[in-house]
């Protein structure tokens, strides 16, 4: 089995290298461009379901030597959690995750090569990811084709258990296409396959099973997940410039994986600039998924099957997001080495409704007949951007 997986990975990598080679030798049509020189300082806040996550994200990108663009990102999640899982089976906790990323783009004629490193650390989880990508403009810049590969190595620990340590290896394969269809219409296509191998569940989470010997009628045992997961996702995006200065966009993403989760995502948005340097935008997003084949809110007895999950992210649920956003241009005349700047505020309200994950915080209900869980989250972003 291990050999088959290794063979499959090698085969995918070989396919990717073949495609990269084909792109490099193809005759290009015009020159590409590097990303803009830019710095962003963002503050983010998530509050919902008993979980609060806040922190900064700093992103800087700068060109040099005419052919290179370097980027660096510092990101923090400061978590305070009393989520439904935590209040029913554990104690509220606080933790911090810090992530550092660096990247380098190299432009040569019509193709751009990118690589990046990301390191993420928290007290019980570390993750390191290396990414490589290549893109090429074709057909007089009407088409951009991109390919990418990422390799991630994670280390999982468990607080209070120095003997527990495990790993996850993650590989991502991406193909993208950006296409100018008309003078006002853009198309984007993305496909991504992700393979995970290792310890994939949360080491603190439990499943519950019927136990008539206890007063509440159920007991808990630790989750057990498969050690492999492969997922495929494909997305189509369209962006259209309206007869006046404004844009609408739509998106559909289809997803399925080897845990038998299937999901659909739909998005529709509107962006409208106003006089005086303002841009306002609104977006609706609808998401739905079915449950993983080894998920159950209440198993019939202990060790009911070889794999067990009661993670609400693996249950059947739907969510709806409403986004409102506003951007205001500042420093329009420039200031010292800064060409221009902007201040942005985005607010997302996300409502989640679970179809087979029950709220156990009440008392007196018959096991399996507790009310279904739902919650709403408020997500704020405030950021300042400078171009130079």
């Amino acid at each position: 089995m291990q050999l088959m997986r290794a063979e499959s990975s090698r085969s995918r990598l070989k396919s990717l290298l073949l495609v990269v080679a084909a792109l490099v030798v193809a005759t290009p049509a015009s020159a590409g461009v590097l990303p803009e020189d830019r710095a962003d300082v963002l503050f983010h806040s998530y509050d919902g379901g008993g979980v609060t996550i806040q922190g900064p994200s700093l992103l800087m990108r700068k060109q040099f030597a005419g052919k290179f663009s370097a980027s660096a990102n510092y990101y923090v999640d400061k978590v305070s959690s009393a989520s439904i899982d935590v209040v029913t089976t554990a104690s509220p906790y606080e933790e911090e995750r810090t992530q550092y990323s660096v990247g380098l783009d190299y432009l040569h004629d019509r193709w751009t090569m990118s690589m990046g490193l990301t390191q993420s650390e928290e007290n019980d989880y570390t993750a390191e990811t290396f990414s490589f990508g290549i893109s090429q403009d074709l057909f007089g810049d009407l088409t951009t084709v991109s390919l990418g590969y990422s390799l991630g190595d994670d280390t999982v620990a468990r607080r209070g258990d120095p003997l527990f340590a495990d790993v996850v290896e993650r590989q991502q394969y991406r193909v993208g296409l950006s296409q100018i269809l008309t003078k006002k219409l853009l198309l984007g296509l993305s496909f991504e396959t992700i393979t995970d191998e290792g310890f994939l569940n949360n080491p603190y989470r439990s499943v519950r099973y019927v136990d008539t010997t206890t007063p509440q009628g159920y007991s808990y045992q630790p989750e057990v997940y498969p050690r492999t997961r492969t997922s495929d996702a494909g997305a189509l995006r369209l962006r259209y410039y309206l007869p006046y200065r404004a844009a609408i966009h739509g998106e559909y993403r289809s997803y399925h994986d080897t845990w038998d989760i299937k999901a659909d995502t739909y998005e529709l948005g509107y962006t409208h600039p106003l006089d005086g340097g303002w841009i306002i935008e609104a977006k609706l997003r609808f998401y739905s998924q079915n449950n993983a084949d080894f998920y159950s809110d209440l198993f019939p007895y202990v060790n009911a099957q070889n794999f067990l999950a009661r993670d609400k992210e693996l249950s059947a649920f739907a969510s709806q997001t409403l986004r409102l956003g506003m951007t205001y241009d500042i420093l329009r005349g420039g200031w010292h080495f800064v060409d221009k700047g902007s201040v942005s505020v985005f607010y997302d309200r996300i409502a989640f409704q679970y179809d087979d994950f029950r709220d156990l915080t009440g008392s007196g209900a018959v096991p399996g007949q507790e009310p279904l869980y739902s919650f709403e989250a408020n997500v704020f972003q405030f950021f300042v951007s400078f171009w130079f």
């Binding site: 396919s15 073949l18 495609v19 084909a22 193809a26 005759t27 290009p28 963002l42 983010h44 994200s57 992103l59 992530q99 990323s101 990118s114 990046g116 390191q119 928290e122 989880y125 993750a127 390191e128 990811t129 990414s131 074709l138 057909f139 810049d141 009407l142 084709v145 990422s150 991630g152 994670d154 993650r170 991502q172 991406r174 193909v175 950006s178 100018i180 003078k183 006002k184 853009l186 993305s190 991504e192 396959t193 992700i194 569940n201 996702a233 494909g234 962006r239 410039y241 993403r253 989760i261 999901a263 600039p273 841009i279 998401y287 998924q289 693996l314 997500v379 972003q381 950021f383 951007s385």
Partner: protein
């Protein structure tokens, strides 16, 4: 899975080799002023896009095809 990889490879190689043909752009460079407007960007603010993808990835079973490279999420 292997058959799918081969199909993908063939399709992309064909696309790449087609670049060798001379294709007349049906939207000329001087006709792209609307498309160049920042409001037409698929990713106008990368720092914000990366954050909101992270929010969704941590709370949904689905992942990938967001148009960005992603990274170690530590989301489990």
């Amino acid at each position: 899975m292997r058959a799918r990889s081969k199909t993908l490879t063939l399709c992309l190689m064909l696309s790449a080799l087609l670049a060798g043909c001379s294709v007349e752009p049906w939207v000329k460079p001087y006709e792209r002023d609307n498309l160049a407007d920042p409001i037409m960007s698929f990713d106008r603010d990368p720092v914000s896009t990366a954050y909101i993808h992270h929010v969704y990835e941590a709370r949904e079973g689905a992942r990938g095809a967001t148009g960005s490279a992603g990274g170690g999420c530590g989301c489990n």
